[in-house]
Every structure is written in C-alpha cells, then in structure tokens.
C-alpha cells in the first residue's frame, strides 16, 4: 500500500462485497435445492389411487405423479393408465 493509498484509500473493489455477491447466488441455489415440495407426492398418489379405484379398477403402478420444474413455475403431472375397455 503506497502512502497515497494510506491517506486517501484505494479504489480496489472490496473483497467483502465480492464475498456477499458470491454467497447470495450460492445460498439462493442451495435453498431452491432443498425445497420440501416432493414430500406430499406419495400421499397424493395414494389418495388419487383410492379415489379412482372407487370408479375404475386400476393398479397402483398405473398412476404416476410427478412434479417438474420448468423455469419459474412447477408442473404437477398426473398420469393414469386406464384399463382396456371390455377386459373387466
């Protein structure tokens, strides 16, 4: 550090500011990763099976529930494979 810098301070970007910018990104990323969203999926799947089974005969495996992230929104996708007509 030169004596001029000592008196007037330097123009270097401060490292703390850099740390803050980097951490803001890292933490935002980390927090979006551990969203507890999929927790309710198994329960939802089970209840859907129960409801649909009241009317149609379906297998547990024939109902698929998936949560997908597309950009800023999430898509809940429910796939139900119906039994072939006339086979009951």
């Amino acid at each position: 550090m030169s004596w001029l810098e000592k008196i007037f301070g330097s123009n270097q970007p401060k490292s703390a500011q850099l740390a803050k910018e980097r951490l803001t990104l890292v933490i935002a990323h980390q927090r979006s990763d551990n969203q507890p969203a999929p927790d309710f999926l198994p329960a939802l799947q089970k209840e859907l099976i129960d409801v649909i089974s009241k009317y149609v005969k379906v297998n547990t495996d024939d109902i698929k529930v998936q949560l997908e992230k597309k950009g800023n929104y999430e898509v809940l996708e429910v796939n139900i494979v119906m039994p072939e007509v006339g086979r009951q």
Partner: protein, 271 residues
Amino acid sequence: MTRIVVVTSGKGGVGKTTSSASFASGLALRGFKTAVIDFDVGLRNLDLIMGCERRVVYDLVNVIQGEANLHQALIKDKHCENLFVLPASQTRDKDALTEEGVEKVLNDLKQMGFDYVVCDSPAGIERGAVMALTFADEALIVTNPEVSSIRDSDRILGILQSKSRRAKEGQEAVKEHLVITRYSAKRVDEGEMLSYKDVQELLRVPLLGVIPESETVLQASNAGSPVIHNKESDAAEAYEDLVARFLGETREMRFVSYEKPGILKRIFGGA
C-alpha cells in the same frame, strides 16, 4: 419446562464448543439449572474447554447403553453451581447415538428438573450433528463472517428445518438464533470482512450476538475455563450480552464498530 438448545454450524472450527461452554455457563450464572452435552462422539473436546477432562468417568454413550446412569455421568462444573457437563465418548463409534437413546437421556434430564439442555453439535451434517439437533426447541447457528462458514450454516439451517422432530411432526418451528464469532470490526470497516448485517441478510436468521475476535478465547481454552468467566475481556462481555438477549433482555450490539484513526495518525502512526 426444559428448553433444549442445539449449538450448531455445519463447518468445523468456527466456535461451537467455545460458544456452547460460555452460553451454558452464562445461563447457569443467571441461576438456571443447565446441562451441556457433547455430541461429538470420537472427538470430544467440550470437557477440555470446560476444564473437567480429568473428572470424566462415564460418558453419553455409557448412559445411552445403560452402563451408567445420568447421576454417575454428569460432571458438576467447577465454576457454576447449577451447571453439569455430559461428555462424549472418545472411543466409540458415532453410530452408538441412537434416536431413542438420545431422546431418553433428554427426557431423563427433563425429569431431573433442568431448565436448559445445551447440545454441542459436532461439525458436519452426519449422524452426530443430526442427533444433536433432532430434539431441539431452539438453535444457535454459529457462523464466522467468511464464505465457507456461511454456506455451511445455510446448509445446516436446511437440515434443521427438515430433520428436527419439530419439523417432522409439524410443530412450531425450531427457534433459530444467529451467533457471529471471530468478528473484526476493523476488517469490516476496511471492506475485507462481511459485516454482521451482511451475514444476517444472507442467512435471514435473527441475530443473537456478535463475538469479537479475541486473544482471550485461546487463553480461556488453554486454561480450561469458559471465556465468559474472563471478566475484562470483550469476548466475555459479548457472550454475557448474548445470554441476556437469549433470555429476552434488550442489549445493544457492542464491539461492532471501529473508530478510524485520524489522518495524522495514518501518516505518522503506522498502519
């Protein structure tokens, strides 16, 4: 009502044990019957910081496995009337900590009329750390104003919010408190260290205390006496303020501002 408080951080070496020792001592000095438990099975250190390493006979794992009872294993602190230390095992595997076992120990401490049980967590996010936070009512998140410590604190917050008993059973969330240690107001002023406001903004946890970087912390651990007893030191006063705030008092943050030397001192007085 017993309150269970976990002291955790994710990252190692940030001051969990130092903070646990002074926090527990501070509560005991205020008259609360307090137990402090070392959850770092295999790497125990709380006994050294508390200065009771030569009095360890039984440990947490002995109690969990029924080889000793709590009365035999709890070590009475030499400074405070109301404080007891439960050391970790040095020889066992961390798998010896079972959820049922830990729950039973904590319930027994409740039966014994403890006001506070402070759980000193090991570093990391594995079994020992998870066991230390599972039954917590409140959490002290110990963080250095430094990138890796802050990221790891955020990680442990995520675990607290998903793996604690309160989270799993959908009860009122664990009350989180931020504790910033090894703080240098001078370096913050120079733009070389994140300020406590920055850290709080990043982690979004209410600030309980800022402990300044202090030589007395090492002196205290050398001597085996929690730094809060070292009356004239800044760190001791900062811990005392922290305990007061935890108990609901309002205390202004101290040791967080730096007085810049004047222009003449900068020219003639060295750095």
